[in-house]
């Protein structure tokens, strides 16, 4: 019995030392990790809403979760530059999450794929940046389109899909299209040009 107590004590001591060490490391890294997480969303938002002031993009919540973001042109939160939302669609092997920015007329201003676990070399090419270019050719196709134009070639539209990955591409296009429909409803309609 005494033996067990002693062994338990040693183990507890070791664990406590470990815990203490970790809490120190955690204290140092925690802010950075959180900053990194925030940066991911922030970067996506700035890509999606290039015209908005990066400091003036605010989340809109509905039932305790973010439904979409509103981007203002100025720091004082005036003049809406556009809206952003996260579109989710089932791809080939994962749910693809895309940050989408649209202007007030319902035209896509920018998109950024945030999360996908598609097949390397196939579905992952929806994020491919060609050698010598600076942005993804697939995602660039979505710019300046309205919802009706978001159809991939295989379905009769003119968004060229990544060869061999129609499913992933269709998921992106369809999820954005669907998200824009929902956004339109929420806003009570886009402005007509």
């Amino acid at each position: 019995m005494k033996d067990i107590l002693k062994l338990g004590g040693i183990l507890l001591l070791v664990t406590a030392i470990a815990g203490a060490a970790l809490s120190m490391v955690n204290a140092i890294t925690k802010p950075r990790i959180e900053e990194q997480k925030r940066l991911v969303t922030q970067r996506a938002l700035t890509t999606a809403l290039p015209k908005a002031n990066p400091e003036a993009i605010v989340p809109v919540t509905e039932n305790e979760s973010v439904s979409h973001y509103i981007g203002y042109q100025t720091t004082e939160k005036q003049n809406i530059a556009g809206y952003a939302f996260v579109a989710k669609g089932a791809g080939y092997s994962s749910i693809i999450e895309t940050m989408v920015g649209v202007d007030t007329t319902g035209t896509v201003m920018g998109i950024k794929i945030m999360q996908q676990v598609e097949t390397p070399g196939l579905g992952t090419k929806i994020e491919e940046v060609r050698y010598g270019e600076s942005s993804s050719w697939f995602q660039d196709q979505f710019l300046n389109r309205i919802a009706d134009g978001l159809i991939v070639d295989k379905d009769g539209g003119d968004i060229i899909s990544v060869t061999g990955a129609t499913i992933s591409c269709r998921a992106v296009a369809n999820s954005i299209k669907k998200g824009m429909g929902e956004l339109e409803e929420r806003l009570g309609g886009f402005k007509v040009n």
Binding site: Y92, S93, L122, D148, K154, D155, T163, G164, K178, G181
Partner: protein, 362 residues
């Protein structure tokens, strides 16, 4: 002086079947289907089959030579593997596709496990699965018109002139699947309260397309459809199969239980209007089911030896085929379902051992 007589254990006579005899019979039985493939796809088909066969045979011979083992390509099994691999690629692939596919089938799927008789999975199908995973685009361009083309794939001229799509003809199952996808997308939208006129229009078209597909069984039977080289004509494949059945090199347990399961399940689940609205005939004739059920699921090496085991094997193949066709990532499920069931063969054999004569059932 007396002569020395041969001495060996009984029996002293054996049946005339030998491994080469069986393998070459399979080759013969495939001749109608080969002829059909030339008719449908032009001389390209010949080249592709030739490359596939040569690569299979050369790979086997080369490895055995390097390992200083007896070279056994004379037994004909590599030839069968080569033909069946060639049958499993579309006609528009460049020459290196069948070459690499056959080489993989033999060098990875067969020789490492000890060669003929020891490979746990169907080499030709492994070759196909390898090609499909590695070059999915190459492996899914189908065309129906017989063309010469160049050895490196489809003519560049053709691509420029018509655009890729005009020589890309989807397989019936492909059409079936995309159209079904459109209908279900549409239903999704309706469910979420949105009605998109464009999609509505497309959904109506899709319904139409599926009906038309169902009506085209005679084309499916004779093979006038897109697909890999060997799968298009059900009738020509069946001629060869009848010969093999007559020779008793393949039995009916696997093909019948396989096709029966596909027919039943596709009838129940395959329709667009709820249960029991699918078209079993379509599902049997479209795609590679006939090729798979008679030539690949029946590969002796990779199917069970017990008679109950063979029924279960066929049923399992059928279930996976329908599952993949209806909800899987590919339009066609035959190759994967056979590969999956190959994995279960040792278990099937183990648990379906016949009851020894005179041993009471428990």
């Amino acid at each position: 002086m007396e002569k020395n007589f041969l001495v060996s254990a009984s029996p002293h006579i054996t049946h005339k079947d030998t491994i080469p005899r069986i393998m070459y019979s399979v080759v013969i039985s495939l001749i109608p289907a080969i002829a059909g493939s030339v008719y449908f796809f032009g001389v390209r088909a010949v080249w592709i089959l030739l490359f596939a066969i040569l690569s299979a045979v050369a790979t086997e011979a080369l490895i055995q030579f390097l390992m200083k083992k007896p070279i056994t390509v004379k037994d004909g099994s590599a030839i069968v593997t080569g033909i069946l691999l060639g049958f499993n690629v579309p006609a528009a692939v460049p020459w290196w596709i069948p070459v690499i596919g056959s080489a993989f089938a033999i060098a990875v799927g067969k020789i490492p496990f000890g060669g003929l008789g020891y490979n746990p999975m169907n080499p030709a199908l492994l070759g196909r699965a390898f090609l499909l995973a590695s070059w999915p685009t190459r492996m899914t361009i189908f065309k129906t018109e017989p063309t010469g083309g160049t050895l490196s794939g489809i003519d560049a001229a053709a691509i420029n002139e018509y655009g890729l799509d005009s020589i890309t003809s989807a397989t019936p199952l492909n059409v079936f699947k995309t159209q079904k996808g459109i209908i279900s997308d549409w239903n999704e939208l309706v469910k979420s309260g949105l009605e998109d006129p464009i999609l509505q229009e497309k959904a109506a078209q899709a319904n139409n397309a599926i009906t038309q597909l169902y009506d085209s069984s005679s084309n499916l039977l004779w093979g006038n459809v897109g697909g890999v080289i060997g799968e298009t004509s059900a009738a020509l494949l069946l001629i060869g199969a009848v010969y093999l059945i007559y020779k008793r090199y393949i039995g009916l347990r696997i093909p019948l239980s396989y096709m029966g399961t596909v027919a039943l399940l596709s009838w129940i689940f395959g329709g667009t209007e709820g249960f029991f609205s699918g078209d079993p005939i379509f599902h049997i004739l479209a795609g590679g089911l006939i090729l798979g059920a008679f030539y690949m699921a029946t590969d002796m090496v990779t199917s069970p030896v017990t008679s109950k085991g063979r029924y279960y094997f066929g049923i399992g193949c059928g279930i996976f085929t329908v599952l993949i066709r209806l909800v899987g990532g590919y339009p066609e499920g035959v190759s994967y379902s056979i590969l999956l069931m190959n994995l279960a063969v040792p278990l099937l054999d183990r648990y379906t051992k016949p009851k020894t004569f005179g041993v009471k059932k428990k």
